[in-house]
């Protein structure tokens, strides 16, 4: 085994020479291929940004949702809650504004477009987006049924022409607050908040170019439509084999929702003098998510800037910055170009793939460059230093590539196509980063490489020397001015971040050698203490991990002061709640929903749910409510009739009345053949964990309530669905499977370590420092009571993969050195000296870059950025202290025969 590893290392040492032999050929080939990839990216990329891509479309609840939309229309809407600035939504001014706004939204085509801005936040206004509006409901156009003498009146709650007298406005308010059906749905109990429900056709709009089957050439009515027999017979032919045209609905992406919400915002923001707005629903949420994405782009740019700056300061050479960047860029281009050319549909997760390639590429290049520089400083000339550097690091890079690939490939076991694609493209990307580091980097360094470190000092070197010539007092003064300026300009949070970056960089640049030099002695002196400290941390993190709660909560994905978070809170505190879900009832029997016993069961179920979850659910609504309400109204508002009548004939006629007066409302509530209907549940915002439990319990309630109807409705199906609830459920499933695949990846990595290190003992030893950073971030979150959500879990494997990489570098290097020198002490010292620097550099660059994500408005991202960089830093501590302490204590020989296990660093240094 060790022979094989050594010859593999030698092969890596030869690699630069071989590549350089075919330099022009390789370079030309890469340039051509890269051009092809770029062309593919621009012309062939299929990017699916629809939210449906998150859903597994074979899930029964997802199918039920599709079915629901087809039957009852889109459930996507903007619930635009507003706070009347005068504290009363029933004041004359508030009512006028609400009337005007409702009218603007309904009749947007007649608005004067010159009164509106061209764009909001840089997003151009597209007026046609408003054609998604299907219906607008507000105080301004609500109606209530009233029975006055012989008339069944459907009166406006607020007349179009507002009454002159304020007393009458007071009466309207009184009436409104007495209407249970509208209270909390359209105004709060204290009348400070109101709401406008803007229903859309998202998800139910036929695809562009959809042609109705009746428009095909030579289509005409069946002959039976014109054939009259004698006066009493006219029968339309029918055949159940006739296929009803399936309408393919347009998928909606984030941009679609955003564009729609931004346009709506332009309309409603005109009324900001009167109202403060709190929009909730998918369109505003998607707008927020898209904002997060563009924020990520900004953070990405800063990240590259910091990364460049750090590399430059650490290596003090421009070529050492430029060429790694080019290598990484090429890996990204190829990793995107290949799926583009092969027709794979990409999702927004490609940004995560890019992040991963970026991190892995940095690690690969920094290890090579760091080794290269140390050889140059030892006096080797360029080619020799390059060859030595590859011999030293090549194997470790290969191993980290394989482990990271295995880690991301664990994701391909997911049921969701988007996660599978993410797994594959990331695996390809990680391999490409390795490939280009081996093949391209030597050629690039041949074109332009850092000069002799002693002879021609770089700009950074000169800057450093000048700084050191300064007086101590001057240095202190400059430092104080610098830190004050940083905090003054950037604020406390970002200022602190930059200060930490500065201090760490300063320390690493100036004292890396002394620090690394002292490490072996420290570990040799207190190996047990070190192991005890790390052991305690490991155990407490394991405990923390057992406490971790997997929970995705839409509102908690954002910071407390974010627009979305505030809107959700306002809606949950003052109105009927920001979430909704549906219970779909399919009797599979024509007119089944007219059955009084079934409707009574529906009514009972609603009562049970409302009683069981007073804190989670605000209200429910169904066909049963309509029947009860109509029954009462038709019987002079006698409360005794506020119930489902026992006679089917009566139910049928009450529904007849409802259908005659509100066919569209009826269609949104019950299918045309009265076989299917649904209960809408308004709920307060909750996390996926709670939802999941809720789903399960609800299914029990359903089972119990409808149990007695089996004989009458043998094919009765009752399913819980709804897009928000679905998203929650999916988020939870996703998080769980991610968590599982993460653990799987850790297992795989351990096995690879055992194989590479050539011994079970060594492999198991290496697993401990590998596991600590992984366990640390989850454990800390568990200890701090922070939930682990789906988004956080998506980037977790990336960060953990990177944290693990350095450990692998350390162990692999140690293993090779041990084989070479046959002495534990020597191998340890040279490993700490050589790999220590590279590990320090990569940790600095990657951890500090990821720490930047902590500033993201997306809390899932921020959490992982913060805990991830802690994990990466912790991995460094493990590499420098724990691994040596364990080696000193357990003296593993990794199968190297006759190894000298004596620990004596003074001798080793001399050797």
């Amino acid at each position: 085994m060790e022979k094989f590893l050594l010859s593999l290392s030698d092969a890596f040492g030869q690699a630069p020479y071989r590549v350089l032999k075919f330099k022009n050929f390789v370079l030309a080939g890469l340039i051509v291929m890269t051009a092809v990839m770029v062309y593919g990216i621009y012309t062939r990329t299929t990017l699916d940004m629809t939210t449906d891509s998150f859903l597994d479309d074979t899930d029964p609840a997802a199918l039920a949702l599709d079915d629901f939309r087809e039957q009852f229309g889109s459930d996507e809407s903007i619930f635009l809650v507003y706070r009347a600035k005068d504290g009363n939504v029933f004041s004359r001014e508030s009512l006028e504004a609400a009337q005007q706004l409702t009218d603007d939204l309904r009749n947007w085509q007649s608005l004067d477009r010159s009164e509106y801005p061209e764009s909001i936040n840089g997003i151009p206004l597209v007026w046609d987006e408003l054609s998604h509006i299907r219906r607008v409901q507000s105080i301004a156009n609500l109606r209530y049924q009233e029975s006055v003498e012989d008339s069944l009146l459907s009166n406006r709650l607020v007349p179009s022409a507002l009454p002159e007298e304020n007393a009458e406005l007071g009466q309207i308010r009184g009436k409104a607050l007495s209407l249970d059906d509208y209270l909390l749905a359209f105004y709060s109990e204290d009348a400070e908040y109101g709401a406008i429900l803007i229903q859309t056709d998202f998800g139910t709009k036929p695809v562009e170019g959809f042609v109705s089957a009746v428009d095909a050439a030579n289509v005409s009515l069946d002959d039976s439509f014109a054939s009259f027999g004698d006066a009493d017979s006219f029968d339309l032919e029918f055949s159940e084999d006739v296929e009803v045209q399936e309408i393919e609905f347009e998928a909606v992406d984030m941009l679609g929702y955003t564009s729609f919400h931004v346009m709506s915002k332009a309309i409603y923001e005109k009324y900001e003098t009167q109202f403060e707005f709190f929009p909730v629903g998918t369109p505003p949420l998607m707008e927020f998510m898209l904002e997060m994405l563009s924020e990520m782009q900004v953070l990405g740019m800063i990240l590259i800037l910091i990364f460049t700056l750090l590399l430059w300061i650490l290596f003090r050479s421009f070529s050492a910055v430029l060429w790694p960047l080019v290598t990484i860029l090429l890996s990204i281009v190829w990793a995107w170009g290949i799926p583009a050319w092969t027709g794979v549909v990409l999702t927004t997760m490609i940004s995560l793939t890019i992040m991963l390639i970026f991190a892995v590429g940095i690690a690969d290049c920094v290890h090579v460059m760091s080794a290269y520089f140390s050889f140059r400083r030892e006096g080797e000339e360029h080619y020799v230093a390059l060859s030595h550097a590859y011999r030293k690091t090549g194997l470790a890079i290969l191993v980290t590539t394989i482990t990271t690939m295995c880690g991301v490939m664990a994701l391909t076991t997911s049921d969701l196509a988007m996660i599978q694609v993410f797994g594959w493209t990331s695996a390809v990307g990680v391999f490409l980063a390795f490939f280009f580091t081996i093949v391209l980097l030597p050629i690039l360094l041949d074109l332009w490489h850092p000069g002799d470190p002693d002879a021609d000092a770089s700009f950074a070197d000169k800057l450093g020397k000048r700084w050191h010539r300064l007086q101590r007092n001057t240095k202190t003064a400059i430092a104080v001015v610098y830190f004050v300026a940083v905090f003054a300009i950037l604020g406390l949070a970002i200022g602190a971040y930059i200060a930490v970056v500065t201090i760490l960089t300063y320390v690493v640049v100036n004292w890396q050698k002394p620090i690394l030099g002292r490490v072996p002695a420290i570990t040799a002196r207190h190996p047990y203490l070190i192991m005890a400290i790390f052991g305690a941390i490991f155990v407490s993190c394991l405990y923390g991990m057992s406490k971790i709660r997997i929970d995705s909560n839409m509102a908690e994905l954002t910071r407390e002061d974010s627009i979305i978070q505030r809107a959700y809170n306002v809606v949950d505190e003052n109105m009927a709640g920001s979430q909704s879900m549906e219970i779909v009832i399919n009797t599979n029997a024509v007119d089944g929903m007219m059955n009084p016993r079934l409707l009574q069961a529906v009514d009972e179920l609603q009562g049970r749910i409302e009683a069981r979850y007073p804190n989670e659910i605000s209200r429910t609504n169904s066909l049963a409510n309509i029947v009860k309400e109509t029954n009462k109204v038709m019987n002079d508002d006698d409360p005794a009739y506020d119930r489902i009548p026992d006679s089917e004939l009566m139910v049928s006629q009450l529904l007849y009345l409802f259908n005659s007066s509100n066919p569209e409302d009826r269609r949104a509530l019950v299918s045309d053949d009265y076989s299917k209907s649904h209960i809408t549940i308004s709920a307060y915002n909750a996390g996926s964990y709670q939802y999941q439990a809720f789903f399960t319990e609800m299914e029990q309630e359903i089972e119990e309530t409808f149990a007695g109807l089996d004989a009458e409705f043998p094919e009765l199906q009752v399913t819980v669905t709804g897009s928000m609830a679905m998203m929650m459920r999916m988020a939870d499933d996703l998080a769980r499977s991610q968590y599982a695949s993460l653990l799987l990846a850790l297992g795989i990595i351990s096995v690879i370590m055992i194989i590479t290190l050539g011994s079970l003992q060594g492999g198991l030893l290496a697993m401990i420092p590998n596991l600590i950073p992984a366990v640390l971030s989850f454990g800390l979150m568990g200890l701090l009571g922070l939930p682990l959500d789906a988004d956080t879990l998506l980037i977790a494997p990336i960060i953990i993969g990177i944290a693990v990489d350095d450990t692998i570098h350390f162990m692999t290097h140690y293993r090779i050195d041990l084989a070479r020198t046959g002495s534990i002490s020597q191998a340890l010292i040279s490993t700490i000296r050589d790999v220590g620097q590279a590990v320090m550099f990569t940790t600095m660059v990657i951890a500090l870059s990821f720490a930047l994500l902590s500033f993201s408005g997306h809390l899932g991202m921020a959490k992982m950025g913060f805990f991830g960089s802690i994990a990466i830093f912790f991995a460094l501590l493990c590499d420098l202290f724990l691994i040596p302490a364990m080696i000193i204590t357990f003296k593993p020989t990794f199968g190297v025969k006759n190894a000298n296990t004596e620990i004596d660093f003074s001798k080793a240094v001399q050797a």
Partner: protein
């Protein structure tokens, strides 16, 4: 004058004789005049008339080029009596009683439709199971209420509305051929006020040049998408009035259609004013006695 004759339904007596000259006149008719002729003809079917109709509703599909019901249609049969009132008999009062299905038997609807756009149509509904009559706030009078469904079918009260032509811009688009007949293709676009009350932003009618019967109507929503289509078939003279005995409305969004078939239509019936009141809805005995009298007139 011509309108009067048509309006009173007397045209039936001389229709054959007038056919030729009518066509000559027709060439010079403006789009508005065509619409008036059409509406007069429409009113004639309910003026002093007793009809028996059958409403069938089903989900539909297309098989071998034929639009066919994909499920057993739900069939409702009803009897309707109507009469013209007001200037030129342009207002219509009618009463319709459901005979089938059993669960809805006896449900009745009394409606007053006014030509004047400023005047609200009125509707009373009688639910036999409750034994109560209720006046339903009119759909067309108010900008926010949706038009009611006609006996639970795809036809809405708006589809049955007549008059109010002043509130539309009416354009003759072209003269063409539909279902083998020469037609005028006319579009009607509601003015802003009417548009707020209507589901349709534009309607395109294919009017038979000779018989003043719509052979096809396309209804477009506010975004210019065709949402409903009405097809008239089996155009024949019933009691001298050209009428599409079978009218089918297709909801292109939900793939459901409703067909209204005139099983019988008798005009020139002397309908007492008393019959077109709420008493007919609530008083079954009165209704039956009066209906018998009306039926007797046919024979």
């Amino acid at each position: 004058m011509r309108r009067n004759i048509l309006g009173k339904g007397l045209v039936c007596l001389i229709a054959a004789g007038l056919l030729f000259p009518l066509q000559i006149i027709a060439q010079d008719l403006s789009a508005r005049e065509i619409m008036e002729e059409l509406e007069d003809n429409r009113r004639a079917t309910s003026n002093s008339a007793l009809s028996r109709m059958q409403l069938s509703t089903c989900k539909f599909g297309v098989r071998e080029g034929k639009i066919t019901c994909a499920e057993r249609p739900r069939v409702k049969s009803l009897e309707s009596v109507g009469k013209g009132y007001g200037t030129d008999l342009r207002d219509t009062r009618s009463v319709a009683i459901l005979l089938e299905p059993a669960a809805e038997r006896g449900i009745g609807m009394l409606s007053f439709i006014y030509d004047d756009g400023a005047r609200d149509n009125e509707t009373w509904l009688y639910l036999s199971a409750l034994g109560r009559v209720k006046r339903i706030a009119s759909g067309s009078s108010d900008d926010e209420t949706e038009p009611g469904s006609l006996f639970g079918s795809e036809f809405t009260t708006e589809d049955q509305d007549t008059g109010k032509l002043d509130e539309y811009e009416i354009n003759l688009l072209e003269e063409t051929v539909e279902a083998g007949r020469e037609v005028w293709k006319i579009e009607t676009i509601p003015n802003e006020e009417r548009a707020r009350k209507s589901r349709y932003s534009r309607t395109v009618l294919y009017v038979d040049k000779e018989r003043f019967v719509e052979l096809r109507i396309e209804m477009y929503d506010q975004y210019g998408k065709e949402i409903k289509r009405m097809l008239g078939s089996r155009v024949e003279q019933m009691n001298g009035i050209w009428v599409a005995r079978s009218t089918t409305i297709m909801n292109l969004v939900t793939n459901r259609l409703s067909n209204m078939a005139f099983l019988e239509m008798h005009t020139g019936i002397d309908v007492p004013d008393e019959f077109l009141t709420q008493r007919t809805l609530t008083d079954a005995a009165f209704r039956e006695t009066e209906l018998e009298k009306l039926r007797a007139q046919i024979n």
